[in-house]
Amino acid sequence: MDLVTFGVQLLNAIQYGMVLFLVASGLTLVFGILGVINLAHGAFYMLGAYLAYWIAAYTGNFWIAMAAGVAIAFVVGLLLESVFIRRLYGRDHLAQVLLSFGLILVIDEFREIAFGKDVHSVAPPAWLAGSIQLTDNLSYPVYRLAICVFCLVVAALIFLVITRTKIGMIVRAGAENREMTRVLGIKFDVVNRYVFAVGIALAALGGIVIAPISTVFPGMGDGMLILSFVVVVLGGIGSVAGAAVGALLIGLTDTFGKVFFPSVSSILIYVLMAAVLLWRPNGILGRREV
């Protein structure tokens, strides 16, 4: 493999990792801060992509689709939290798995009734639709590069909110010691609601951003859900920075695995996960339980 091809593959790996991070960040927030295993995360990713397709078809504008799709997902997240999810805090994981699996079925059925089961595609905004010539015969869509930048911005925003704002402080305190935070008179339940809604909105945002380079189809959330969990476990549950590291590692392993070891590429990321967990049982940036 010459240097240029290697560079392009590296770009592929990073870009794939960025996308994985965007989707997994919401999962790690909900998992790490609320302690809730949300199996329906992939379903919300799919729902986001279908919303993007549907709203873009109506309005012809990708940005409106993005804003409206995220807003809808956020509101749905708020409603779900106040009706269902808040009953799950402190329950064992089986109850959480049961409820969120039920959510997958409901969302799938809703998608079928509302949007049907056809495969769709979404056009990227016109000014991002071009491509850049990389080698003599290979060009790279500008939209893919834009996704990298966008994901970096989202990552920075999440990081700033969690480490530099009062809300972030409450969130961190609540994750540390729920009861003590309540005792101090902080309305932790309200914060929970928003954390969950942000998690759902991030899943949908992932689906919306990816829709133009992916296609919109019924089973698209299934594979993404599994990958997101691998990212979260690899990086350390609840750690946003860990999710970024985990996502990049998986992007690299998957891309170069497909190139160098095609016959075993499907298991390489799980081998990576097993190896990392042997080395650090709580994930790369996960904290040790006290």
């Binding site: 593959q9 056809d118 595609s121 080698t135 060009s139 992916s214 296609t215 698209m220």
Partner: protein, 401 residues
Amino acid sequence: MSNRLMLPVSRRALLTGAAGAATLAVAPALRSPAIAQNAPLKVGLMLPYTGTYAKLGKFIDDGFRLYVAQKGGKLGGREITFVQVDDESKPEAGTDNMNRLVGREKADVVVGTVHSGVAMAMVKVARDTKTLLIIPNAGANDATGPACAPNIFRSSFSNWQPNFPMGKVMYDAGHRNVATITWKYAAGAEQMGAFKEGFTALGGKVVEELTLPFPEVEFQALITRIASLKPDAVHAFFAGGGAVKFVKDYAAAGLGKTIPLYGSGFLTDGTLEAQGAAADGLKTTLHYADNLDNPANVAFLKAFKDKTGNVGDIYAVQGYDAAALLDAGMTAVGGDDKARDKMIAAMGAAKIDSPRGPLSFNKAHNPIQNIYLREVRNGRNEFVSIAQKDVDDPARGCKLA
């Protein structure tokens, strides 16, 4: 655009219609007490009515019923009733569903299905119970290979068929070094294997066989690999959402200009709308083209449109031909399906004037049919030429003499 957004309405109407049709179909069976000869022939439709392949299942169902309706609801003078089972494309439930049709529902003939894994489960039950089975889609080579049986027919294709002729097409286009790409699973291996067989026999070389796990859709690494390999051309097989994404990614990488993309016909069938301009000019081989200009196809497309409001496709044709094949057998025995040997002989010898062109059957009961070279133009798979006439599957491993 607007009709796309109205999908929910049409889908509900469709379900109501299907339920209504099912009720109508079952009702006469309940009324007439069974006098073996005069009782209607019960056809079990085991198809995916929900899930990823639901649209394919519906079109096969519509095609089959269209043929029966054109014959006044009778085949060989015997009235036809239907019982339908949704196989959901779940191989693990295939044996149970098939047993239910054969055992409890006492279906005389079973027609199904789309998914190869489910179809192979059905083949096993059909072999054990000697039930007459017509496969209207699933392409697994084995169904008319090692697992072939006198009572098992296929009205569609084997995975080998549409791909073998592509070898000659690409060789004749001047390509000598070709890379293949597909999912790493049975259908992908069978399709690419047949292409390689046809291509290397002429002296072409397959420089790399790229695969990725089914049903993954992250193609970028392999597309970059193709760019650095610089083959003369690429032959691909994907289906559904994966096909759309691959065709779009390939076009977005700008590779189509220097390394033309060819495909098994399934790459562009049923998802052209979503593929959009990225698919323009893509050449594929299949046993059907959307604008085949023969009288049977023109009449079929019109009748299908009148009855269902949809534009017929290859799946509808395969369902339609499954009924035509059953008709050939039933006509030969005057509607008495107990004269099994004579009926099977007549079906095996059937010459059907199918919308896809002339259709007959080999010893293993797999279709002998033309394979067409098509090109994507105007959002359709338009006819270019006959890639190979009367393509017969080698039926490797079949012991039927």
